[in-house]
Amino acid sequence: MTVATLVAMAMFLGVIIYALLGGADFGSGFYDLTAGNAQQGAKVRTLVDHSIGPVWEANHVWLIYILVIWWTGFPATFAAATTTLFIPLSLALAGIVLRGASFAFRKYSETMAQARLFGAIFAGSSLISPFFLGTVAGAIASGRVPADGYGDRLRSWINPTSLVGGCLAVATCVFLAGVFLTADAARAGDVRLADGLRLRTLGVGVVTGAIVFAGLFLIAHDAPTLSSGLRNHAAPLLVLAALAGVATLVLTYQRRYAMARLSAAAAVASVVTGWGVGQYPWILVDTVTIDDAAGAGATLIGLLVVVALAAVIVLPALGYLLWLTQTEEWTGTATHSPASASADRSAPGCDRPASAARRGPGRSRPHP
C-alpha cells in the first residue's frame, strides 16, 4: 500500500460519494422533465425543488474534490485526460453550468413561461452531465487515453465501453433520484405523489439492472483488462450490487422507502467501486499505473492532510445538513393543498398560500 495508492483511494472515495449524492441530484432532472405539463407537474417539480434545494451546491463540490486531487496528485495523467477527452468534458461541464444556473433562476422566476424555460434547461442539462462524465470514465477504463495526452478526439469517447459508461451513469442517477424522491414524498405525507413516483422508480430500477449486466457483455471485447478485473477482483462487488439492486426493488414495492434508500445507495456504490477495483492498479488502463502517475511525495502527503481535514470538518457539517433536511421542520409539506395551508409553516422556496391574501390595496404603493 503506497502513499500514491492511498491518495488514489481517497480520490476514488470522492467518485463514489459524487456518484451517490451528485447522482441523486442529477437524476431528479429526469423526474422533473417527465412530470407532465405545468399543472400536473407542479407537485413533482416542487418536490424536486424542495429535495435538492438545500444540498445541490454541496453535492457538486465533490466533483471539484475529485478534480483537485487528480491534478495535484497525478498531474500528468490529468493533462492526458483533459487533452484527449476535451469534448465530453466540455459537454459535461456545459450541463453542470446550465443546470445550476437554471435551477436557481427557476426558483425565483416570476411567470410560468419563465419557469418552464428554466425548468426545461435544468432538466435536460441534468441528464447530459452524467452521460458525458460516464463516457469519460469509459474512455479511461478502456485504455483510450494515451500517457502523453492528445488522444483521438472522437473515438476516445465514442466506443462501446464509453457508451455503457454513459448510459449506466444516467441510469444509476435516475434510479437513485427516484428512490430518494419517493422517500421524500412519503415522508412529507403525500401518498399519491409517492405512489406515482414509486412505479416510475421500479421501472427505472429494472432498466438499470439490465444496463449493468448487458454492459458487462458489451465491454468484454472492448475493454479486456477492465473486463478481466471485473470478473476476478471485483466479482464480489458485482454480486453485492445485484443483491442490493433486487433488495431495493423489493423494498420500494413494499413501500419501505427509508430502507430502500440504503440499499439503492449500496447498489450504486458497489457498481462504482467495482469499476475502481476492476481497473486497479491502472489509473489510465493499460497505459499508466497509479504509482507511475504519482506526483511529488511531499504533495501526496499534503493531500492526505487535506483529506484528513475534510473528514474532520466537512463530513460532520455535511451530516448536519443532511440530517436537518430529514427533520420535520424542514420536510414540512413539500406540496401544498388548500387544506394544508393553515398548518403550513413558512418556507423560503415553498409558498405561503396566505401570502396571496396579504397582497392587496392596503399595501403601500411605490411613489411615482
Partner: protein, 461 residues
C-alpha cells in the same frame, strides 16, 4: 488585445489553442471574479443586519437580511458553476501548466475545495433554515461562510501569487524536482495579493449593494429600509476603499524587485529614468509615447517611495519578454484612478456625516453613489487585467511561457464561442431574475413563491 498584437500573435506560429485559450480564460475569470466577490463578502455583510434584526428586534434589518439571502441564493449558484468552469479550464485550456506543475500548485486548490464545501453546506443550512431553526443558531450559520470566504480567497490567490513568485520547486535538466508544495502555497507574494483581493471583494459588494438602495432613494423611496440598506454595505465598502490604496501601494512597490517588466509596463517607461516621471494615460505607438500627461519625479515617489530612485524601463528587458504594454498601463491606471475616487467618495460621506450633514439628501451625491457600484467592478477587472496581462509572456514568472502552457488543440475556438454564448445567457438570466425579484418586493410581496407551486391568484403589476 490590440489589433496589431492580435495579428502578430496569430501569424507568429504559436499553437492554435493559445489565443482562444487566453480569451476564454479572460472571459470566464473576469465573469466569475465579480460573482465570487459576493461569495466572499456578502455573508459577512448579511451577518451585520441579521444580527441587528435579532438582537435589537429590528424588523427592517431582518427584512434586509431575508432579501439579501435570497439574492445570494441566485448569485452563489452562478458563482459555484462558473467556478466549476474554471476548475475544468485549468485542465482543458492549460494542460502544459497542469501536467508539469500540477503537484506544485495543487495543494492550495485542495484547501480551497475544503472551503467551498464549508461554504456550500452552511449556505444550504442558512437559506433553508429561515424560521426552521432557533434564530441565534441560524444566525451563526453565517460565520463558517465568512471564514470560508477568507480561506478560499487566500487559497486561490496563493496560486496566482505563485505564478508571479514561483517557489517550492527546482528545475534540473528540464525536470521539475524537489517539490515542496507548502513553500509553494505560502510563497513570498501571497500575503499582500490576498489582502488586496479580499479588500476588493468588500468594495465591490458593498458599493453594488449600496448603489441599489441609492437608486431607490433617487426614485423617492426614502425610508428606513433604504437608509439601512445603503449604510451597512457602504460602511464596509468605505473601510475597504480607504485601506485599499495603502495595500496597493505596498504591493506596487514590491513589483520593482519581483517583476520589473510589469512595473515598466504599468508606468509606460521605455527607459530607466531616475528620478522617474509619472505618465498619466498615454499609449506607446511605434516606440513613442503619445498623449500622456507627464509629471516629473512623481513616478519615483509613487512607485519607489523615493525622491529619485529609478523606475525600470522596458529597454532593460529583451523585447521577447515584454508584456502587452498599452493594455497593462491603461488598465493599471484605471484601477488606481477609480480606487482613489472611491476612497474620496467614502471619506466625503463619513466626514459630512460626522459634521451632521446628510449627503444622502442631495441628489448629486445619490447619483454619484449609483455609479460607484459599477465603477468598483471596472476597477476590479482593470486590476486583474493589469496583473495578468502584465505578467505575460509568462504563465509562471521566468519559468513557463503562456505559449507552452496552452493546449495545442485547435478546437478551442468552439469552446470559446460556447463559453461566450452560455455566459451571456447566464448574465441575462441573472439580471432578469434579480430585477423581477426587486420589482415584486417593491410591489409588496414578501415571499417570492415559485410559479410552478400552487397557482398564483394575480399577476404582479
Amino acid at each position: 488585445m490590440g489589433l496589431t498584437d492580435t495579428l502578430l500573435l496569430a501569424s507568429s506560429g504559436e499553437p492554435p489553442g493559445l489565443l482562444p485559450a487566453r480569451q476564454q480564460m479572460a472571459v470566464s475569470l473576469g465573469w466569475h471574479i465579480v460573482v465570487a466577490c459576493f461569495g466572499v463578502a456578502l455573508p459577512t455583510i448579511i451577518f451585520v443586519v441579521h444580527r441587528r434584526g435579532i438582537v435589537r428586534n429590528d424588523a427592517v434589518a431582518l427584512g434586509l437580511a431575508r432579501r439579501w439571502a435570497k439574492v445570494s441564493a441566485v448569485l452563489f449558484a452562478i458563482g459555484a458553476v462558473s467556478g466549476t468552469v474554471l476548475s475544468f479550464e485549468m485542465g482543458l485550456l492549460w494542460p502544459g501548466l497542469m501536467g508539469r506543475f500540477g503537484d506544485v500548485l495543487g495543494l492550495p486548490f485542495a484547501f480551497e475545495g475544503l472551503s467551498f464545501f464549508v461554504e456550500a453546506i452552511f449556505l444550504g443550512i442558512y437559506l433553508y433554515g429561515w424560521d426552521r431553526m432557533p434564530p441565534r443558531r441560524h444566525l451563526a450559520m453565517l460565520v463558517p461562510m465568512g471564514i470560508a470566504g477568507v480561506v478560499g480567497t487566500f487559497c486561490v490567490i496563493s496560486v496566482n501569487a505563485w505564478m508571479n513568485h514561483p517557489a517550492g520547486f527546482d528545475i534540473r535538466d528540464g525536470e521539475v524536482v524537489d517539490v515542496n508544495p507548502w513553500r509553494a502555497m505560502f510563497n513570498a507574494g501571497v500575503g499582500l495579493q490576498f489582502l488586496h483581493m479580499w479588500i476588493a471583494a468588500f468594495m465591490v459588494v458593498g458599493l453594488l449593494l449600496s448603489s441599489v438602495y441609492a437608486v431607490g432613494m433617487l426614485r423617492g423611496r426614502i425610508d428606513r429600509h433604504h437608509r439601512l440598506g445603503f449604510t451597512v454595505p457602504f460602511a464596509f465598502a468605505s473601510v475597504a476603499a480607504v485601506a485599499q490604496p495603502f495595500v496597493g501601494h505596498v504591493l506596487g512597490m514590491r513589483i520593482h524587485d519581483t517583476q520589473p517588466a510589469k512595473l515598466a509596463a504599468f508606468e509606460l517607461a521605455q527607459t530607466t529614468e531616475s528620478p522617474a516621471p509619472l505618465r498619466l494615460g498615454g499609449v506607446l505607438i511605434d516606440g513613442e509615447v503619445r498623449w500622456a500627461l507627464t509629471i516629473p519625479r512623481l513616478g519615483s515617489i509613487i512607485a519607489r517611495n523615493s525622491w529619485d530612485a529609478p523606475v525600470p524601463g522596458l529597454e532593460g528587458i529583451p523585447e521577447s519578454e515584454w508584456p502587452p504594454v498599452n493594455i497593462t498601463h491603461l488598465a493599471f491606471q484605471s484601477m488606481v484612478a477609480i480606487g482613489t475616487l472611491l476612497a474620496a467618495v467614502a471619506m466625503a460621506y463619513w466626514l459630512a456625516r460626522w459634521r451632521r450633514r446628510d449627503l444622502l439628501s442631495h441628489r448629486w451625491f445619490l447619483r454619484l453613489v449609483v455609479i460607484t457600484g459599477p465603477l468598483a467592478v471596472v476597477a476590479l477587472e482593470s486590476g486583474w487585467i493589469a496583473t495578468e496581462v502584465g505578467r505575460q509572456p509568462w504563465t509562471v514568472w521566468q519559468v513557463l511561457r503562456t505559449v507552452d502552457a496552452a493546449s495545442r488543440s485547435s478546437g478551442l475556438w468552439w469552446s470559446y464561442i460556447a463559453v461566450l454564448v452560455i455566459y451571456l445567457g447566464m448574465t441575462v438570466g441573472a439580471l432578469l431574475v434579480l430585477r423581477s425579484m426587486a420589482r415584486r418586493w417593491r410591489a409588496g410581496e414578501d415571499d417570492l413563491p415559485s410559479p410552478y407551486g400552487p397557482p398564483r391568484e394575480e399577476a404582479v403589476p
